[in-house]
Amino acid sequence: MLLPRLLAPARVAIASSRSSSIALAASSAHTFEVVRCIAANPISPALTFIRHASHQTQGRANGAKDGPGKRLGAKKSGEEYVIPGNIIFRQRGTGWFAGENCAMGRDHTIYATEAGFVKYYRDPLKHPNRQYIGVALKRTESLPYPPNAARRRRLNMLAVQTSPDTAITTIIGEGRILDGDMTVKETKVNAMPRHKSGKELVMGKNYAFREANWQIGRAAENAGIKVRPFIPGDRFRAWQKSAARKAANAEKRGLRGKRGGGGKSKRK
């Protein structure tokens, strides 16, 4: 800040020395002092200020100060009736601790584990500085409970008479049912479909049921088809078979030839 102000008279002095031949008579001794100072200092006259480390003042540097509220605080006041799972207090950190019949959630939320009446209290025997939120089972009770007395617990259950056969029927294994009087009975499992003829079907490709390969292989046997045994020297039978094969081949070739010929003729 000081430097620009000091430089101003020096600049004036330099300009005047260039323009006029009059030697440095007019310039004061003070100005020369400053010029000497500048000659010693390597800072160019063009740099007029220095930036110091400082705090960013603009943009997002200081964070948003006014976000949406998180709706923290007491959701149930003292003496209010709550049931298990009711949220009593939402907080950041542990300003309040879970006392009698209460628990603390993942985000330090205090919630009730028993039906009862909310009490805000301190328990110096447990911890000298902590403040607790508890649920008393009766409204007239005050927390904390006396330390050496038996805990007050609620059963929260009903006794139900169950008939023996429905009560103890449990499935113990595949297709077996354990009955009420402990006798084991076989049960039918109809998960697999059956063919009309009584053949078992298996799951084939594309989720379609089909006959098993070994059943297909037995089809001829089941149909009662008899194959003539092969006799090595039976030339007549051999001629019959080869003639039938040749005729079948010729027929196949004829079909192919018709199609192929048609295609070629078109091209011509």
Binding site: A115, N148, R151, R152, R154, L155, M157
Partner: protein
């Protein structure tokens, strides 16, 4: 096992055969041709009749239970002499080559010097014990007026006795033989040093576990307001040991358990054993009640007599007034669906000279609604030990209930009560805009 021993064994067994032939054992002469085989030839050989058993004992005279090594020799020892090998196989192998010098005479200079120092210290402590005893005798003989009143005299005497006990322990605490015996379980619990070491060991780990179970399972404050166990109580049903707080099958807990009680202070005292279940569900009350499963009184216990078999307490007692059991064992039962029951076994020390009339206690005590706190106050008892096990509904519970005379409750099942949700209050519309 030393490799030399290993190599020699087949030869040894072979030589044994030869030796027996020389002895002229008629039954073994026939076998003498099988020099190189030490195994039985036919199944008949394996069958051991009485005469042959005696001969077999002669056959293996060199088998010493302290040094026997190898599976076959161990089996022989067990089978033919009926003696179990001592210690581990490694220890026995090491003992084979040792010179068996008594511990005190081990020929190490530094060891002997150290022993000398320790022995001098022990002599010093013994002298101090003598002096302390003399002082106690003098003080006891002294008139109360001179020693500053009855209370002051008693206080002084008590502190002198404490010092005496302390000196007794200090005299033996550095003895390596004492330490060895304690670690090997050969301790004499009548001696204060062994009781001290056993107590220290118990407090180091097992008592801490017990303390944790007491607080985890809320025995304090549910049954008693305060509990400081000073005696170790182990629970077992038959041969099955139950760790503190373990779940026990209802069929196993149908019969009364066996307690092993170790006290760490001297003398015999009478104790009462009470088993309480604090988790009996009462639907009308929407809460829980206590039930007493067992009471037995006037059981003598000392550091050396440690076993209390709850089902055999009165087997040998003929006199009806001297019976121990006030309330016999009631098998623990749990309804289906109900939360687990804790069965706490308490060992209560009776005040000196306090003998409980068990017949009267049996008549006057009700099982349901039994409150241990008032029972302790009434009978002047001090809780000294505790253990606990748990039961829940299992496959055998129905039959156990039938046999316990609760057949009508077998089909009773506990189900959770529905908690009515709070009515939903719709907030005013302005806040939703």
């Amino acid at each position: 096992m030393a490799p030399g021993n290993h190599a020699v064994r087949p030869l040894n067994s072979c030589l044994r055969c030869v030796r027996q032939t020389g002895n002229g054992n008629a039954s073994l002469v026939a076998n003498s041709a099988r020099f190189l085989s030490s195994t039985a030839r036919t199944p008949e050989d394996v069958q051991v009749n009485k005469t042959e058993k005696v001969e077999r004992v002669d056959k293996f005279p060199e088998l010493d239970p302290a040094t026997v090594v190898g599976k076959r020799d161990e089996r022989r020892l067990i089978r033919f002499r009926g003696v179990m090998p001592i210690g581990s196989r490694r220890r026995r192998a090491a003992l084979q080559n040792s010179q068996n010098i008594p511990f005190e005479q081990l020929p190490y200079q530094c060891f002997q010097d150290a022993r000398k120092v320790l022995q001098e210290d022990r002599q010093e402590k013994i002298k101090q014990i003598e002096v302390a005893r003399l002082r106690i005798a003098n003080l006891q003989a002294q008139d109360e007026a001179i020693s500053g009143g009855k209370q002051a005299k008693e206080n002084r005497l008590r502190s002198m006795y404490n010092r005496l006990e302390e000196l007794k322990i200090l005299a033996d605490i550095n003895d390596p033989v004492v330490k060895k015996k304690h670690e090997d379980g050969e301790e004499d619990m009548n001696k204060p040093i062994y009781r001290y070491l056993a107590d220290k060991q118990w407090r180091q780990y097992r008592r801490k576990i017990l303390e944790q179970r007491i607080s985890q399972l809320n025995l304090v404050p549910d049954i008693l307001p305060h509990l400081d166990p000073v005696a170790e109580v182990d629970l077992a049903f038959g041969r099955r040991k139950i760790p503190h707080g373990d779940f026990v099958d209802s069929l196993i807990s149908e019969r009364a358990p066996r307690l092993k009680v170790q006290v760490f202070d001297k003398g015999e005292r009478l104790v009462t054993v009470v088993v309480v279940d604090p988790d009996v569900p009462i639907v009308q009350k929407d809460g829980f009640e206590y039930r007493c499963h067992f009471i037995a009184s006037n059981i003598p216990i000392s550091p050396t007599s440690t076993s209390i078999a709850l089902n055999q307490l009165d087997l040998k007692v003929k006199d009806t007034t001297a019976k121990h059991i006030a309330l016999p064992w009631l098998p623990p039962t749990v309804h289906k669906g109900a939360p687990y029951h804790r069965l706490a076994v308490f060992l209560l020390r009776q005040a000196d000279g306090n003998v409980i009339d068990t017949a009267k206690v049996g008549r006057s005590t009700k099982r349901d609604g039994f409150i241990l706190r008032s029972f302790i106050d009434k009978q002047r008892l001090t809780p000294v030990g505790v253990t606990v096990f748990r039961t829940k509904w299992d496959d055998n519970m129905a039959s156990v209930m039938q046999r316990a005379g609760l057949g009508d409750q077998v089909n009773m099942e506990f189900k959770r009560k529905r908690v009515e949700p709070l009515p939903y209050k719709k907030k005013d519309g302005a806040r939703y805009r």
